[in-house]
């Protein structure tokens, strides 16, 4: 018999199951891969996920796009039963995840593709699935002579037209370290960069809150030249925004993007297979082509297209042109640097 009470109970439990699907299906949840937002998610959905499905006989997988720092916050809030199985991290957050004991070591000995990676990408805590590259970005309509060096940002003709990001992002911090190095500093001595920033102030039009906001400023003509992420610029270019990327003569800053298995993940085997697919030659070859233009870490991949044109023709060339930074040293001081940037960089 259907009385008011049973109806209400049924409705409430159905509602609860709808709100918390984990309640009823706690045992078999799909593999959760925390990718980055935007074009990264599209690229992984289009190339990596099909490759993973093929390898695992259609194992269920969910992409959960978010920033590295948000991944760490989510996993460290539920260490024993993490809501994510595979994390994607820039070098700074990757070290934070390690320090907080959130990472399961990658089973190197079982991996077929691991040994094909560039030595810099062979990290037993999680191999680098691709590189992110920071160089100079400029608007070719307004900047007639292409810049060649970070120092060009200081040229008087760019008064009020330069954009940067603050140090919250990997891009902002990496840029400051490179500027410090140019002026005699290093990963452990950032002072010269802050001094140089004082002189950059008249040129600054914007200190964007994040790299995404910086990229959109090119669209509005708010900035004409800035340090920029290779992939973010390619997306803008594809939309018809007049913007070009060059690797400065000091070398383009390269960040390894590590792909890591989350500690206590209930889907360890599937997580391994996803990472194996991410570092494999076919997947990286496909991801390197337009429109994704992801810089590969697998030495077997032959560089073609835009990447060969503006970044590197092959692995040796890449080693010559890329600058890697010591993120262990950087990470130890980064909070203090961010605080200092808060206080000193006011327009």
């Amino acid at each position: 018999m259907l009385d008011r009470r049973t109806l209400l109970t049924t409705a409430l439990s159905l509602g609860a199951m709808e709100l918390f699907p984990g309640l009823s299906f706690a045992q078999a949840r799909p593999l959760v891969f925390a990718t980055f937002t935007g074009s990264w998610e599209e690229a992984h959905k289009a190339v990596l996920v099909p490759a993973f499905r093929k390898e695992t006989n259609n194992a269920p997988i969910v992409l959960d796009p978010m920033l590295s720092v948000d991944q760490i916050a989510k996993v460290s809030a539920a260490k024993s039963n993490p809501p994510i199985d595979v994390m994607l991290h820039d070098p700074g957050p990757a070290l934070t995840a390690l320090a907080q004991d959130l990472v399961e070591p990658f089973p190197v000995e079982r991996s077929a593709a691991f040994k094909d990676l560039i030595p810099d990408a062979q990290d037993p805590n999680g191999p680098a699935a691709f590189f992110q590259v920071v160089g100079l970005t400029y608007n070719p309509d307004t900047v007639k002579t292409p810049p060649t060096s970070w120092a060009d940002l200081w040229r008087p003709e760019y008064k009020g037209r330069v954009g940067i990001t603050n140090m919250n992002s990997t891009l902002g911090t990496g840029f400051m370290v490179e500027i410090a190095k140019m002026h005699g500093g290093s990963e452990s001595n950032i002072d010269p960069a802050f001094k140089a920033m004082e002189q950059l102030k008249p040129n600054l039009s914007a200190v964007a809150a994040n790299p995404g906001a910086l990229a959109t400023l090119f669209q509005q003509g708010q900035v004409d030249i800035s340090p920029g992420n290779f992939n973010a610029i390619q997306i803008l270019k594809a939309k018809g925004v007049p913007v070009e990327f060059v690797a400065p003569k000091e070398g383009a800053i390269a960040f390894k993007t590590l792909i890591q298995i989350v500690k206590n993940s209930p889907n360890r085997e599937l997580a391994f297979k996803l990472i194996e697919a991410a570092i494999s030659e076919p997947v990286q070859t496909r991801l390197m082509q337009a429109p994704y233009l992801v810089v590969p870490t697998n030495t077997k991949v032959k560089m073609t297209g835009e990447i060969a044109r503006v970044l590197a023709k092959d692995t040796d060339d890449l080693k010559k042109k890329f600058v890697f930074q010591d993120w262990k040293t950087i990470n130890a001081q980064r909070p203090a640097w961010i605080e200092r940037f808060n206080r000193e960089i006011k327009l």
Binding site: A208, A213, I338
Partner: protein, 283 residues
């Protein structure tokens, strides 16, 4: 024979219990957890060291005061622009009123992100305002409006305007129009009628609107970061930076509690002002 009739003027407390439970679980409990977290010192001991660190630091206090000041400026802008609009909307009849209500409500149906991006287009170096001014020959180099506080106040005021206008319209429409006629018949001019009759009677709506716009403006994380930029720091962005970029949860928790208390103080001050003003208006 006296049969005890059920009292229909009161409702049993248990009717409120589902919502009370919901609030306890999803509002009160996290708030208590936040408080607990904020008492954790850098060395793991319990204490007030995070609060001491925040309150003894001129820079942090400056961010807090700057945020509250921003909220006051946005509220003032909403009030100055919103009150005349609400007056016109309530006194005008027919289609004028309909058009105004539609104009006030439409932005509410659009995401804050989209409205904020629209402001980037308007305020940019080659934006609508700058190109208009330079084509009129009024300026030679583009004005800096994006990533500047003036632009931020304008954008926040537009984004939060409905929160001011809607309560004002409700309050104004409750005023009996014959009061205005009576006031004028007794010799008061328009301005006097506005100050002595309209303003005191719409105070509840005005205060509700001010509290809503103030709260929304100081916590408007998206607009603050997209129009204000990365070097103009306000409390929401500062808390986000400490919690997410630096993973310094105890300090971020302490900042949140300080921010919450400061906002509550300003809201109480709004209410107190309203009560004072009402007392003055009635004498």
């Amino acid at each position: 024979m006296a049969v005890a009739l059920p009292d229909v003027t009161t409702y049993p407390l248990r009717l409120a219990s589902p919502l009370a439970l919901f609030f306890a679980a999803f509002f009160a409990a996290p708030l208590v957890a936040l408080l607990g977290l904020s008492l954790q010192g850098p060395d793991g001991h319990l204490g007030l060291s995070q609060y001491a660190a925040f309150l003894s630091d001129g820079f942090s206090l400056g961010v807090l005061l700057g945020t509250l000041w921003l909220g006051l400026k946005v509220t003032a802008a909403c009030l100055v622009l919103g009150l005349p609009l609400a007056l016109v909307a309530t006194r005008a009849g027919g289609w004028v009123r309909g058009v105004i209500i539609l104009a006030v409500l439409t932005p509410l149906l659009t995401s804050v992100v989209i409205r904020t991006f629209a402001w980037i287009v308007i305020l940019g170096r080659q934006g609508v305002v700058n190109s208009l001014l330079s084509s009129l020959g009024l300026i030679e180099t583009p004005l800096r409006m994006l990533y500047a506080e003036g632009g931020l106040v304008a954008a926040l005021a537009q984004v939060q305007m409905p929160l001011m206008v809607l309560p004002l319209m409700t309050a104004l429409s409750r005023i009996d129009p014959s009061l205005w006629d009576a006031s004028e018949a007794l010799g008061a001019g328009r301005w006097r009628t506005f100050v002595r009759v309209t303003l005191p009677l719409c105070l509840p709506g005005l205060i509700a609107g001010a509290v809503l716009t103030f709260a929304a403006a100081i916590s408007g994380f998206i607009t603050q970061s997209l129009i204000g930029g990365g070097q103009m720091l306000f409390m929401p962005g500062y808390i986000y930076q400490q919690a997410i970029a630096l993973q310094n949860w105890p300090f971020a928790a302490a900042m949140s509690v300080v921010f919450l208390v400061a906002v509550l103080a300003v809201v109480l001050a709004f209410n107190a002002l309203g009560r004072l003003a009402r007392g003055y208006a009635q004498t």
